[in-house]
């Protein structure tokens, strides 16, 4: 029996719009085990992104418990959440969100610098991960000099570089063409199955969700299906 990396217990998120209360998340409970590739699937407005933000410690639930890597994060202060993310979480963004003034190595090394890792050692780490994602020839390129697929590979290397216990990816292929999308998804599969990482991906595309080991379908803030 694999241990749980993520445990969510009856997570609620309620927004107030005027006098009306909107339930973005309506009592969601879920578990993610170590070494799993899980996709959260839902249409836009279903609450899938909200769930991801909760699990990643970017937002707090109105009610419920979230235990990640053995720690309750639902009541952490903002400073503690930052520290938590720095130490346990990797992120892959839809729009890659690399810093434009930094080259590929520096972008991958950036989160390590937040940890206080020395320049030489973090560059070495960054280079090894860039090699892993197949960007040997683009080490010195700035984001503007790379294709979308290449930029997202840099993004993946950046998420891996901190050796997180869990990686979150928010529509990681949303800005890519079909061919590159498949390449990136294969890379993500490889990262999970061969390197023992845990990955939670949010997507609206059922077809893409098929690349994951397990799918959690969300509709109107509730889990409707797990397969």
């Amino acid at each position: 029996m694999q241990e749980n990396v993520i445990t969510g217990e009856k997570i609620y998120k309620v927004y107030k719009l005027g006098d009306e209360r909107v339930f973005a998340l309506n009592g969601v409970s879920l578990e993610v085990k170590k070494g799993e590739f899980v996709a959260i699937v839902g249409t836009s407005g279903s609450g899938k992104s909200t769930l991801l933000n909760m699990l990643a410690g970017l937002d707090r639930p109105t009610r419920g418990e979230i235990i990640i890597a053995g720690r309750h994060i639902e009541r952490m202060s903002e400073g503690d959440l930052v520290k938590f993310r720095r130490e346990h979480v990797g992120f892959i963004f839809q729009a890659y969100d690399l810093l434009p003034q930094l080259d590929a190595i520096e972008n991958v090394a950036l989160p390590l610098s937040f940890k206080g890792v020395g320049k030489r050692s973090r560059r070495q780490t960054a280079i090894s991960y860039l090699k892993k994602v197949g960007l040997d020839k683009y080490m010195k390129h700035r984001p503007m000099q790379m294709s979308g697929g290449q930029q997202q590979r840099v993004g993946i290397a950046r998420a891996l570089a901190v050796k997180p216990e869990i990686i979150f990816a928010d529509e990681p292929t949303g800005n890519l063409d079909t061919k590159t999308t498949i390449e990136v998804l294969h890379l993500l599969q490889d990262v999970v199955h061969n390197d023992g990482n845990t990955l939670v991906m949010v997507t609206h595309d059922r077809h893409l969700a098929d690349y994951a080991d397990r799918r959690i379908h969300i509709l109107d803030g509730e889990i409707v299906l797990e397969d």
């Binding site: 970017l58 520290k83 989160p111 610098s113």
Partner: protein, 490 residues
């Protein structure tokens, strides 16, 4: 996050927006330059006024004169009152004053009068000053001709640059006033005779020619008065000598006193119009004068010195004044007060200094305030630039937060950026103000603007601090940006 990494990031983000960074730095530069230049102008004014005071007798000196008896009586009730020399300035007074805190040196000054003759011309020295050699050497006077007398030299005179204008012709008219020209005498090399017993000389002149010129009559009137009132040689002590010799009134011929050749050690620098402390005076070594007095007057009373009730001189010489050097300009007033409490008259430039300081400080503050306005404007510019930069980088900051960049690290990033702008502006502003000051001084041909040494580090540090204060609010804002909102707004 390591400081070097934060510094590097701040640096690269400044480089990324070169033009804006330069414009912001330019603002700080102008602000700093205007403050520093204004302060330098104020400092220049202050130094000029202190220099002026220095020319009029020094910044750290207290002049002590003998106490007047009335003032002294209160304290001297009883034993003291019986000793008329109690408040006169003697070697023991020097010892006393040397014992006061903050007193660095005490030099006696003996004023002397003498008459110099050169051919038909003569010069009256009324307040010639005899100083210890080391004391006048300290004044750093420059010589037009000649040099300081050496220790142990015979008596030699040092003339001020305007003293030569004092020569009178045989009828007592000042030559320079009448003709606009000085007497054609070479003070250094021409043989001049000096008469120390001026009273006796005047008396003898008077005997020779009853119809003497008005000026001479005036000079001698004091002597005549005492001569007629023989037997009461009290007040005008110096006259007693001549009074005795001129006893018998105008009919007896008084023998002219002996003349001495006193060589000139030097003439002090300056044209006939340059006024300095020394300009009108004649100086000499006090030790040399003392031995000359012994030779001239033997055991007769010396003019200007007090005598006992029986008309005999005291064995010691009393000084006309004492020149007290205080260790620091701040202590002058206290020392002056203490000497005053001893019963002596003490004067210094301290009030003048205090007044001129106060004045120049308020000037400086005003000038600095004018400069500060432009730095304030620059500070607002910094705040604006930082704000813009934060709006532009909202997304970037958000991503960094999501990736785990500490909140205080983010704040410090922006503070370092602001500090770098301040540092750049401070250094360039300092450079600019140096150039401006050099130009001002060149145009005015004087040290009108002087940047005090402490100003160099202080202005740069000040610029950095002001910039960081201006950058504080924006940095706080960057820190509190919601990471979620930041990554959402694509």
């Amino acid at each position: 996050m390591r400081f070097s990494d934060k510094f590097g990031m701040a640096w690269s983000s400044l480089l990324k927006r070169k033009l804006r960074t330069m414009l912001t730095i330019l603002g700080v530069m102008i602000g700093v330059a205007s403050i520093v230049t204004m302060m330098a102008l104020g400092e220049g004014l202050k130094r000029q006024s202190l220099e002026l005071i220095e020319q009029y007798g020094g910044l750290r000196t207290v002049e002590v004169r003998e106490g007047n008896n009335q003032g002294g009586q209160n304290q001297q009730e009883g034993a003291g009152a019986s000793d008329p020399t109690k408040l006169k300035l003697s070697d023991s007074t020097i010892k006393t004053i040397e014992g006061i805190d903050h007193v660095e040196a005490v030099y006696p000054v003996l004023e002397f009068s003498a008459l110099i003759q050169w051919g038909a011309y003569k010069m009256n020295i009324y307040n010639g000053q005899a100083w210890p050699l080391e004391a006048i050497r300290e004044k750093n006077w420059k010589f037009a001709e000649g040099d300081w007398p050496r220790d142990g030299d015979e008596l030699k005179f040092i003339f001020g640059n305007m003293a030569i204008q004092d020569f009178e012709d045989s009828r007592g008219n000042i030559v320079y006033w009448n003709t606009g020209k000085t007497v054609d005498v070479d003070l250094m090399n021409d043989k001049m005779f000096t008469i120390f017993d001026v009273e006796a000389y005047n008396a003898s002149q008077n005997n020779g020619s009853q119809e003497g010129s008005g000026a001479q009559t005036n000079d001698t009137s004091a002597g005549q008065n005492t001569a007629t009132a023989t037997g009461t040689p009290g007040q005008s002590s110096g006259s007693s000598g001549s009074g005795a010799s001129a006893d018998g009134g105008n009919t007896t011929v008084t023998p002219a006193p002996k003349k001495y050749v006193v060589p000139t050690a030097g003439v002090l620098e300056g044209t006939l119009d340059d006024f300095y402390e020394y300009s009108w005076n004649v100086y000499c070594d006090i030790e040399a004068l003392k031995s000359m007095y012994k030779k001239v007057f033997k055991n007769k009373p010396i003019p200007g010195q007090p005598v006992r009730k029986n008309g005999k001189p005291y064995p010691e010489l009393f000084y006309s004044s004492l020149n007290v050097t205080v260790d620091d300009i701040e202590n002058v007033e206290a020392v002056q007060k203490e000497i005053g409490n001893l019963g002596y008259q003490a004067t210094s430039n301290s009030e003048w200094i205090a007044q001129s300081r106060e004045q120049s400080e308020s000037q400086q503050a005003m000038l600095g305030g004018i400069g500060a306005v432009s730095l304030l404007v620059a500070a607002i510019g910094i705040a604006n630039t930082m704000m813009m930069s934060i709006y532009e980088r909202t997304k970037e900051i958000g991503v960094m937060k999501v990736l785990g960049c500490g909140l205080y690290d983010i704040q410090q990033l922006f503070l370092i950026e602001a500090g770098l702008i301040g540092c750049g502006g401070g250094l360039t502003g300092l450079g600019l103000s140096c150039i401006v000051c050099i130009l001002i001084n060149r145009v005015t041909e004087a040290a009108t603007a002087v940047i005090p040494v402490w100003m160099y580090p202080v202005s740069v540090v000040f610029a950095i601090v002001v910039s960081m204060v201006a950058g504080y609010a924006p940095s706080k804002r960057a820190m509190s940006l919601s990471a979620l909102d930041a990554i959402r707004n694509n």
